[in-house]
C-alpha cells in the first residue's frame, strides 16, 4: 500500500480526520498536559490553603508553622538537616542492597529445592509479620554496633517483598521453555542464569520498588526507636529533637525532606525498572491507544 493512497485529495500530506478522531486527539492532548498540571495545581492550592489557615486562625508557629517559614528553616538548617539525611540514606541504601542480596539469594536457594522452600519460607513470613518496633528492643540487647542495629532493622522490613516476588518470578517460567532447556541438556546453573533469572526480572523489579520505600521507612523507624536513647544522628532523631524543643518548623522541614527522599527513591527505581523492561515486558510498554 502506498502512502499517497491514504489522502483523498492526493499529494496533500495532512491526513483528513473526522470529527470523532479530532475530538479524540484533543482529548489525548488535554490528558497529557493534565497529567502534570493538575497535581501541581492541587499541591500549590493546598500549600496556599495551609498558609491562609495559619494566618486566619492565628495558629502559633510552634503548633503549625507557615509554609514559608518551613522553607526558610529548610534553608537555614540545611547543613544540619542534610548531614542527617546522609546518615539516614546510608542506612537506607545499605539495607536495600542487603535486602536485594538476601532476598534474591534466598529465593534462588528456594527454587533449587522445594524442600528448602517448604522448610524456610514460614520463617521469612514470621519475620515479616512481626512488627519491627516490637522486635527492636531485642535487637538493641543483642547487637552492640549502632549501625548494625539500624541496618538489621531496616533489612528485616525491606527484604521480604524482594524474597516473595523473586521466588514467584523464578517459579513462573514458561513450562515449554524449561522443556527446551532440558532437551538441550542445560545444567541447573544454565537454566538459572539464562532462563529463571531473566524471567523473574519483572517480579524482582516490582519487589524492589516496594523494598526501596520500605527500607527508608525501616531506617527511619529504627532511628526513632534507637534515637529515643539519643544514640542516632539521622533525620528521625532530628524530628524527635525538634519535637522536644517545640521547634515545629524544623520538624516539618525534616518531614518534608524524608517525603521527598521517598518519592525520589521510588522515581529512580521506577525509571530503572523501565530501562530494563522497556523492550519486552507489558508493564513497561507505552500505551498505544
Amino acid at each position: 500500500m502506498s502512502s499517497t493512497e491514504a489522502t483523498p485529495q492526493g499529494g496533500d500530506l495532512t491526513v483528513m480526520v473526522d470529527a470523532e478522531e479530532a475530538r479524540r486527539a484533543r482529548q489525548r492532548k488535554l490528558e497529557k498536559t493534565g497529567k502534570w498540571v493538575l497535581p501541581i495545581l492541587i499541591m500549590v492550592l493546598a500549600i496556599v490553603m495551609w498558609d491562609r489557615i495559619c494566618v486566619w486562625n492565628e495558629i502559633p508557629r510552634y503548633i503549625l508553622p507557615r509554609p514559608g517559614e518551613v522553607l526558610a528553616t529548610l534553608i537555614a538548617d540545611s547543613g544540619l538537616l542534610f548531614s542527617s539525611l546522609v546518615t539516614t540514606l546510608k542506612i537506607t541504601f545499605l539495607s536495600l542492597a542487603l535486602a536485594v542480596i538476601g532476598g534474591v539469594g534466598l529465593s534462588v536457594l528456594f527454587t533449587q529445592s522445594k524442600w528448602i522452600e517448604m522448610s524456610f519460607f514460614p520463617f521469612a513470613v514470621v519475620l515479616q509479620v512481626t512488627p519491627i518496633v516490637a522486635i527492636f528492643p531485642l535487637i538493641n540487647i543483642y547487637v552492640d554496633n549502632q549501625t548494625a542495629k539500624l541496618l538489621l532493622c531496616a533489612w528485616i522490613v525491606a527484604f521480604f517483598p524482594i524474597l516473595s516476588n523473586t521466588t514467584l518470578g523464578l517459579n513462573s517460567v514458561d513450562r515449554n521453555l524449561l522443556d527446551l532447556f532440558k532437551l538441550n541438556g542445560a545444567s541447573r546453573w544454565q537454566t538459572l542464569w539464562h532462563l529463571r533469572l531473566p524471567a523473574s526480572m519483572p517480579y524482582f523489579l516490582g519487589g524492589l520498588k516496594i523494598a526501596g520505600g520500605l527500607s527508608l521507612i525501616g531506617a527511619v523507624v529504627a532511628e526513632f526507636v534507637a534515637g529515643a536513647s539519643g544514640q542516632s544522628s539521622g533525620l528521625a532523631s532530628r524530628i524527635i529533637e525538634a519535637g522536644y524543643r517545640l521547634n515545629a518548623p524544623r520538624l516539618f522541614a525534616a518531614l518534608i525532606l524524608i517525603s521527598f527522599t521517598g518519592i525520589l527513591i521510588f522515581l529512580v527505581l521506577s525509571w530503572f525498572a523501565n530501562r530494563i523492561l522497556h523492550r519486552w515486558h507489558e508493564s513497561a510498554l507505552k500505551q498505544e491507544h
Binding site: 514458561d174 515449554n176 521453555l177 522443556d179 527446551l180 532447556f181 532440558k182 532437551l183 538441550n184 541438556g185 542445560a186 544454565q190 539464562h194 532462563l195 531473566p198 524471567a199 526480572m201 523492550r279 519486552w280 515486558h281 510498554l285
Partner: protein, 270 residues
C-alpha cells in the same frame, strides 16, 4: 521426488515397539503404540485431542519416558543436538533478541556467540528472517515468531525435527505460507520431521506418511501413505489429487473417532 515414490528408501530411523504411557493419575495416554519412522520422513501424527499425539512426541524427544515398550533408535545414538523441537506456541524468551533466541541451543552446548554466528545467520536466512537479528519477539508478528522458533529448532542441525501443532494458532494465510516454506526447507535439507497436527488438510499437504491416532486410550489407529510427488506448491492445494487424498485421510480420521464405519483394528490405506 524419489522419496514420495518410495517412502521407505530412507530406512528405519526410529521404531516404537508397543510403547505405552500411563500417567500417575491412572490416565492411559498411550497404549501399545507401534510405529516406524524412516530417515527423511515427513510423518504427521493426526488425531483428535486426547489421542496422545503430543505425549508420543514428548516420549520421542526424551522429555518423558514410556511406562512400557521401547524406543528403538537406529544408526548413531541420538545426542542432545540431534533433536529439534518446535512447540505450539513460539515459546521464545521475550527478553532476548532473535539472534540470542536462535543461538540458545548452541549456547547451552558451550558455543560462543562468535562461533555460533555463521550457523545462526544461516538458519535465519533459511526461514527468511535475515535482518531481524536484533529485534525482540514482541516486535514480530505471530508468523515471524514461529519462524524464529523453527530456526531455533534447526540451529543444531538436528537429524529429527519434532513439531507439536506449530501452526495451529496462526491465521490461514500465514499458515499456508509457513507450510510451503517448511516444505521447501525440508526438501533441501532432508531432516526427518514428525509433525503433530489435528488438521487433515495440513497433514496431507505436508507429509509423505500420516499416522492416524484414536483416543481413549491413545493408540495408533491406522496409517496412510500420501502418494503425491514433491515439490508440492500452492497448485497442489487445489488439485484433484489433493482433494482425493484429503477425503481419504478425513475418512480415516472420522473412522478413528468412531463417526464413520465400525472402527477398531488397524487400517492401512494406500
Amino acid at each position: 521426488m524419489q522419496l514420495a515414490e518410495k517412502p521407505q528408501t530412507g530406512g528405519a530411523q526410529l521404531i516404537l515397539r508397543s510403547v505405552g504411557k500411563t500417567f500417575g493419575n491412572d490416565v492411559v495416554a498411550l497404549s501399545d503404540v507401534n510405529m516406524t519412522i524412516n530417515h527423511g520422513d515427513f510423518l504427521s501424527l493426526l488425531g483428535p485431542s486426547g489421542c496422545g499425539k503430543s505425549t508420543a512426541l514428548r516420549l520421542i524427544a526424551g522429555l518423558s519416558s514410556p511406562t512400557s515398550g521401547l524406543l528403538d533408535w537406529h544408526g548413531a545414538p541420538m545426542g542432545k543436538a540431534d533433536i529439534g523441537f518446535v512447540f505450539q506456541e513460539p515459546t521464545l524468551m521475550p527478553w532476548a533478541s532473535v539472534f540470542d533466541n536462535v543461538w540458545l541451543p548452541l549456547r547451552l552446548q558451550g558455543v560462543s556467540r562468535a562461533q555460533a554466528e555463521p550457523q545462526v545467520k544461516k538458519v535465519l536466512a533459511q526461514v527468511n528472517l535475515t535482518g531481524f537479528e536484533d529485534a525482540v519477539p514482541r516486535e514480530l508478528s505471530g508468523g515471524m515468531k514461529m519462524r524464529v522458533s523453527i530456526a531455533r529448532g534447526l540451529v543444531t542441525r538436528p537429524r529429527v525435527l519434532l513439531m507439536d501443532e506449530p501452526f495451529a494458532a496462526l491465521d490461514e494465510i500465514t499458515r499456508f505460507q509457513l507450510n510451503s516454506d517448511l516444505l521447501a526447507l525440508w526438501e533441501r535439507e532432508r531432516f526427518t520431521v514428525i509433525f503433530v497436527t489435528h488438521s487433515v488438510f495440513e497433514s496431507v499437504f505436508l507429509s509423505n506418511r500420516i499416522v492416524v491416532m484414536a483416543a481413549h486410550p491413545g493408540r495408533v489407529f491406522g496409517e496412510m501413505v500420501v502418494d503425491a510427488p514433491y515439490p508440492r506448491d500452492e497448485k497442489f492445494r487445489t488439485s484433484e489429487a489433493y482433494a482425493h487424498l484429503t477425503r481419504k485421510a478425513s475418512s480415516l480420521l472420522r473412522t478413528a473417532m468412531g463417526l464413520e464405519g465400525e472402527g477398531g483394528g488397524d487400517h492401512v490405506l494406500h
